[in-house]
Amino acid sequence: MSQPDAATPFYGMMAEFETAQALLSATEKTTAAGYTKTDAFSPFPIHGLFDALRIREKKVAPIILTFGLIGLAAGAGLEYWTQVIAYPMNIAGRPHWAWVAYIPPAFETTILFAAFSAVIGMFALNGLPQPYHPVFNVPQFARASQDRFFLLVEATDPKFDAEGTKAFLASLNPKEVVHVDH
């Protein structure tokens, strides 16, 4: 499925490993060798990989905090507007802005907004849902969600050269090194 107009002849080069340890060691060596456009794929989260790939992003938590605060403002605002401005009602002589009684709904909207922003934000940062991705062109990659571990070096990496990178990946003791078509 190669696209003639793409900047590179293929998407990248991928090495397949049988254990999590092999993937982690290989990833560390790849990062140490100066590759930057790399990614590792595994059937479950491997904590060592985050350091090995120099993942430093801190976006998820601030998004959730922001939306939690928006949720708080939305809940409290709804209560203020409906109970004090739009249709103030005297119920048992209590003040219109009986803020103590308004805590539970505002708390719930805070959690609601924060939780949805956590899920939607996380998937959006990950670029999901994504119907097509070149890594799925590798037939063996079906096992990335089962019992195999993969390391990818993208062809757009400044250090990438087809022969050299292939030789480098082969030196990491993978089961196999394959091209990833666009």
């Binding site: 990614d39 479950f44 491997i46 249709y87 708390f107 956590a118 990950n126 019992d147």
Partner: protein, 468 residues
């Protein structure tokens, strides 16, 4: 637990949370094999047939309700709240264990939660779905329920009264249902990707593929995924505590004797966890046998859940003692009468003693390690707790309402066949949904089980640059 501290054969040494000898392959194959097959165990057909029959009964009961109105129920004046709210509180309570297992035990790093969290989360969703039926139908005209329950701009310019715990309930339960759903779905996505890659039928591949959102297991994705999941767990923890607290406010903020007590929020939350763990065990024990999951749901899980049940049960019993003490110590004539009426002389006092038998006496069997390791005993105790927790709500609601302040307004409450068919109908709905779930989705979190395998937490071998 550091298992090396126990000598070999020591009775204190815990059973592992995953039986030794499994590989990534065997976990994947066994857990996807349950779903990606044309065969289901005979017991599956048998149980879902019964459940579906009850569910059909729910259809009949609800249709008749819509035609005739809530007069078909046994509710009267003064017992204006009966099965509708009893069942609502019972189902909502059951839901709590799912969130407790998936969120609170995650924050406490309890690795035994892994094999039961997925099915417990599903159980939460289905229990909340059953619960939600009652507040909607008890209005009699459910098509107007939105107008009564939700704050939306309507032609009369009226809004719900936010000082009322009933509207707090709407916010708490709908938030709980929505957050439980996305929590469950987020946990499912990596496993749906496994199903997409394992399935052979092209249609199944497509369906699971769409649901998996194109998940490819990239380390960058896992990084954000784990962060979001952990924060989601942190958000769900106060949420789950708030839900039954708010449900208890429905009672505690009323002036009815036996309801107006400050012990209600913690006592209701403990009761919810208690009922929930009993229901998780009630479902896990037969599913484990039906699908041969003894390697994944080991005796360690059964024992731990039995222990949680025992402890929360004792907290609930402490709540009963507090209720009784507060009633007596208040010196209030109505409160003292309510107590005497509830425990000794009232028309429903036998239910109170059955409730104590179910919730207090029988669960004490769980002190014995031998009995905790006997599946049939644990299952029987859970059945007692399921019944006991339902009776608890019956006792609180019906006894207090039937005999309140003025003897001239007292009235007995008798449920009708429609009350029962609606209640058992929701049991049918619950079991049907649960059994359909185990048929089409992984009931055990596949990727989380893999983390438990040795070799899944590799150590850095690199000399410089990375942190330990």
């Amino acid at each position: 637990v550091d298992e090396s501290q126990f000598p070999k054969g020591d009775f204190r040494a815990p059973v592992p949370v995953l039986t030794a000898g499994h590989s990534y392959r065997s976990i994947t194959d066994q857990l996807t094999g349950i779903v990606l097959t044309k065969h289901s165990p005979l017991a599956w057909y048998f149980i879902i047939a019964i459940a579906f029959t009850l569910l059909s009964g729910l259809g009949v009961a609800l249709s008749w309700l819509l035609l005739k109105g809530i007069g078909i129920w046994g509710n009267n004046v003064p017992v204006g709240w009966a099965f509708d709210i009893i069942n609502f509180v019972w189902w909502i309570g059951i839901g709590h264990a799912g969130t407790l297992i998936s969120a609170i035990l995650l924050l406490f790093k309890q690795d035994w939660r892994t094999s039961i969290n997925r099915s417990a989360e599903a159980m939460t969703l289905f229990a909340v779905a059953c619960a939600a039926i009652f507040p909607v139908i008890h209005t009699g005209r459910p098509w107007l329920a939105a107008y009564w329950l939700f704050p939306y701009p309507n032609v009369m310019g009226l809004w719900p009264n936010f000082r009322s715990p009933l509207i707090w309930d709407v916010f708490a339960v709908s938030t709980y249902a929505s957050v439980s759903l996305i929590f469950w779905y987020t946990g499912l996505v990596p496993d749906l990707a496994t199903f997409r890659d394992k399935a052979e039928h092209p249609l199944l591949k497509k369906v699971y593929g769409v649901l998996a959102l194109g998940w490819r297991g990239s380390a960058r994705h896992w990084f954000r995924y784990e962060k979001a999941f952990l924060i989601l767990a942190g958000l769900s923890t106060p949420l789950v505590l708030s839900v039954h607290t708010v449900v208890s406010f429905d009672f505690a903020s009323a002036v009815i004797p036996g309801w107006h007590a400050t012990i209600f929020p913690p006592y209701f939350v403990a009761g919810a966890v208690y009922a929930g763990f009993a229901m998780v065990l009630t479902l896990a024990i037969p599913l484990r046998a039906m699908y041969g999951l003894k390697d994944f749901i080991t005796m360690r899980h059964i024992e731990n859940m039995a222990k949680v049940m025992l402890v929360t049960g004792l907290v609930v019993v402490y709540g009963y003692a507090c209720e009784a003490f507060f009633g007596w110590y208040s010196g209030n004539g109505y409160e003292r009468f309510m107590l005497k009426n509830r425990i000794l002389t009232g028309p429903y006092h036998k239910f109170y003693w059955v409730l104590l038998l179910c919730n207090f006496i029988v669960p004490q069997l769980m002190w014995s390690k031998k009995l905790r390791n006997n599946i049939m005993v644990v299952f029987t105790v859970c059945m007692f707790v399921n019944v006991g927790m339902w009776l608890e709500r019956f006792v609180i609601i019906v006894t207090s309402l039937a005999n309140d302040f003025m003897p001239s307004s007292w009235e007995m409450y008798h449920p009708t066949i429609w009350d029962f068919s609606t209640f058992f109908g929701t049991v049918g709905l619950f079991v049907t949904l649960m059994f359909l779930f185990v048929r089409v989705l992984p009931m055990i979190a596949i990727f989380e089980m893999k983390v438990l395998l040795p070799g899944s937490n590799p150590t850095s071998t690199h000399d410089g640059g990375s942190h330990p």
